[in-house]
Structures are given as C-alpha cells and as structure tokens.
Point group: C2
Chain length 252, copies 2
C-alpha cells in the first residue's frame, strides 16, 4: 500500500483526494491545508491538519495549490529526501526546492467544486527525477485513472498552453455566442446541439478537415456582414477578425 499526503484545499485537491480516498491501493494519510477545508471535503474521512508540525511520514506528498504558490509551499514543508510532487501544468519540475526528491503529478482536466468528475477518464501526466519515484507515481496514477502519460516539463508547458486554447478560450467563445443571443431573445439552448456536434466531429475527423464556415471559404460578403453586426462589441469584433485571419491563412 502506498501512503499519500495531499497538501492543498482547492478544486484539484478536492477531486484528487476523493479519488485517492476511494482507491483500494492507496492510503490517503492526511490532507494539509493552511485554511479551513470547505464542507465538500467532509465525505473524505481522513486526518485533516492545518499545522505542518503534525505532518506524518508518507511515501508521496502531492502539493495541489495555485500555480504561483507551489514553490513557496514546497519550501515550507518540514521534510527531507521525501518524494514531493506538484499537480501544476505551468511549474517545471526543476523549480521545486532541492531538499526533497522531485516529481509532477498533473491531471489534465478542469475541475469545479460543484461538479463531479470521473477520475478514470482524466489523463494524468507524470514526471520524476528518479525511475523508482516514477514507478511509485505511476502506481498511484493507474490506481485512479485509465490514462497515464509520461510527460516531461517542456511537454507539460505546451499541454498547459493548449489547454488554455481548448478549454478557457473555447468557453469564452461559448460565452460570446450566449451574449449575442441574449440581445435578440434567443435561448442559448438552440446552440447546444451545434456545440455538441462540434466536439463529436473531432472524434471522427481531424481538426483540419472538420473546419467549415465563411473564413475557410473566404466568403468576404458574409464576413463583412458579421463584422458589421458586431460593431457594438469591439472585443468580439477583434476576436472575429483575428480568428478569421488565422483560419484563412491555415487554408491558403
């Protein structure tokens, strides 16, 4: 049995702790959080501490805090020669302090407190300084997910950037579609089947071939009419122009 301590109390920590707590191959020993944990953690019946002096011995310590706090938290741990990993896309492994053995345990997913996720389908990207440590991380990852990948820091930085495009930016485009509809009393639900098909398509066709629309066809009449419709939304108009340009040049 591998013993794990999670450090952090945010959304990633919450869903990771739930998955680890349920796994028969893992002992989730403690959850450390500086601030009081939310009631979402109540169902995870393990030792919860907010004083680092109470931290127990574990095989692995997983730091799951916001990107800019990872290093500071890692430095604050009263540990030596332990395996200490973080769950962050944007922090390289080498940035962790040298007191402990370094690694990364990065679940590539977007988490909300109020929405359950199935960890089995979440890709977990692993990295470690030493092969033995990698094996430990792999055993933990495979006990909670069916998709485990060896990903180095440079690849992870790239994945994190891609995730901003396919998640953060895509969500904002959904927001734009919803806002434009509100002006005309159109329910956003009319657009949802189209959104679902947009995603379903890329399971069957690659993203290059699945592109359609006025930008790809270089249909100047429709493009100009759309830009006119957006004249009261300067940011949305800019988005339209830049994305149209990028699509046009992709198919030139």
């Amino acid at each position: 049995m591998t013993t794990v301590t999670v450090i952090g109390g945010g959304n990633v920590a919450l869903h990771l702790c739930k998955a680890l707590f349920k796994s028969p191959d893992i002992v989730l020993q403690q959850i450390y959080s500086r601030n009081k944990l939310t009631s979402h953690f109540d169902e995870i019946e393990v030792d919860k501490i907010n004083n680092l002096e109470l931290i127990k011995d574990s095989d692995v310590y997983i730091i799951s805090v916001s990107d800019d706090a990872v290093i500071e938290v890692a430095k604050s741990l009263p540990l030596k020669d332990k395996l200490v990993v973080h769950t962050t896309g944007s922090v390289t492994m080498d940035d962790l302090p040298p007191a402990n053995r370094k690694g990364v345990f990065y679940p590539l997913q977007t988490f909300s407190k109020s929405k359950a996720v199935n960890f089995k389908d979440i890709p977990i990207c692993l990295e470690a300084e030493f092969q033995n440590d990698y094996n430990i991380l792999e055993s933990i990852a495979t006990s909670i997910s069916n998709q485990v990948y060896k990903i180095d820091s440079s690849q992870r930085r790239s994945l994190h950037l891609s995730a901003v495009f396919v998640n953060n930016f895509v969500n904002h485009l959904f927001y734009v579609g919803e806002q434009l509809g509100k002006d005309k009393n159109i329910s956003f639900s009319i657009l949802k089947p189209l959104i679902e098909e947009t995603v379903d398509k890329i399971k069957h066709i690659n993203t290059f071939d699945s592109q359609t629309g006025p930008a790809k066809r270089n249909d100047i009449g429709t493009i100009n009419s759309h830009l006119n419709q957006l004249e009261n939304y300067p940011n949305f108009q800019n988005i339209y122009q830049i994305l149209t340009k990028s699509i046009r040049e992709t198919y030139e």
Copy 2:
C-alpha cells in the same frame, strides 16, 4: 401528406433529404440538382432531376444551396405562388424573389457528408410570410425534429453569427491545440477529455461562471510565459492576446 421538393445537392440537402425520405408524414417528391448528385444520395429512392422543366407540383420547395447562390436559384425556378423556402442562416426571408410565397427552414447544425446526424436533435428555425405557410413548415419540421423554433430573420442572422463563434472558431482553437502538441510529440487524444468536459460543464453551469484560467485570474506571469511560447506562431499569439483581453474585461 405534405409533398416536398428539395433543390440542392450539398451536405445540408443530403441530410435533410435523408430525414424527409424516412418521415412517414412527408412525401419527398423530387430532388433537383444542377450537378450530378454524389453516391451518398443513392439510398434516397426518389425522382432525381437536373432539368427544371421536369419539376413537379409540391406543397413546399426547399432550396438548400450555398448562401450566395440561394437568390439566384430561387429566381430560376419556373414556379408561381408556391411556398419556396431556403435553409440558410445568412439570407433574410425578404431577399427571396416575389414570384412565390416566402419562408425559411433553417436547421442549425454543422453537416459533413461522411458523418451521420440524428435530425431529431437538430433545432429547426422557421419563418414564413403567412401563418398558413408557417403551419405547413412546422408540420414538416416536427415530423423530423424534436426542436422547432419560430425565429425571425434578424434573430436568424444573430444565430448564424453565434454559430460561427461556437462552431467554426471553436474548431480552429481545437486545431491550435493539436498543432502546438505536434511540436512536442504530444498526442491530441490527451486533450480530448478536457474538451469533452468543457462542453459538459455548460450543461450544468452557465458560460460566465464556468470560465477559469490565467486570463480570468489576471495571472500576468502565466500569460506572459504563454505569449513567449507562441513567438513562432504570430496568428496563435494574436488569438491568445485578443481572447485574454476579452476575458479580462468580461470579469473586470
């Protein structure tokens, strides 16, 4: 029984003809196409013509050709006082020629020849000059879809624009994510669970509340690091900047 003639041979015409042909409440009388129909139409066993002189009497004529050809095709029809509608998001009903009764039958979905769609889940947006004609269009629409909406030309123009954002532009962001990964030998499949969750989230949470990421947090360090990573991709860098600006100003 309502008799329908479809005019056109593209993707929308194909899937619409398949749905109409299957419907027990509709008689799909003829398919007219100037060019020879592809073999995808073979399974639709109806009269296929490429000479307008052979066109028979029908209750409704549905023009399903590219946006910029709709008016020209409508003008070429040897019909008088018939119900003639088009399937296009960007052409207003009033632009149709006055020889016939006008209407619109707009299925809001993206269609590919090679990918089957379930028409039952596709929103169909209807408009007609006269209430009787609207009722005819509604009976056809409800015989093939569970989602039928009364949408005027101004609303349809807005929906068409929203569709560009949530489909065309979203697909291009998926393409960006795939391209960035290729540089680092990362399979696009690692990103697919994140993409599915991005869409699944907006079923439960509105698009404003489901936004996450460095732009919303105004995390300048991560944003600048991402912009540096994109220095060899000027278009992608522009997309990143414009979308980040729009997200930041949405949450100011």
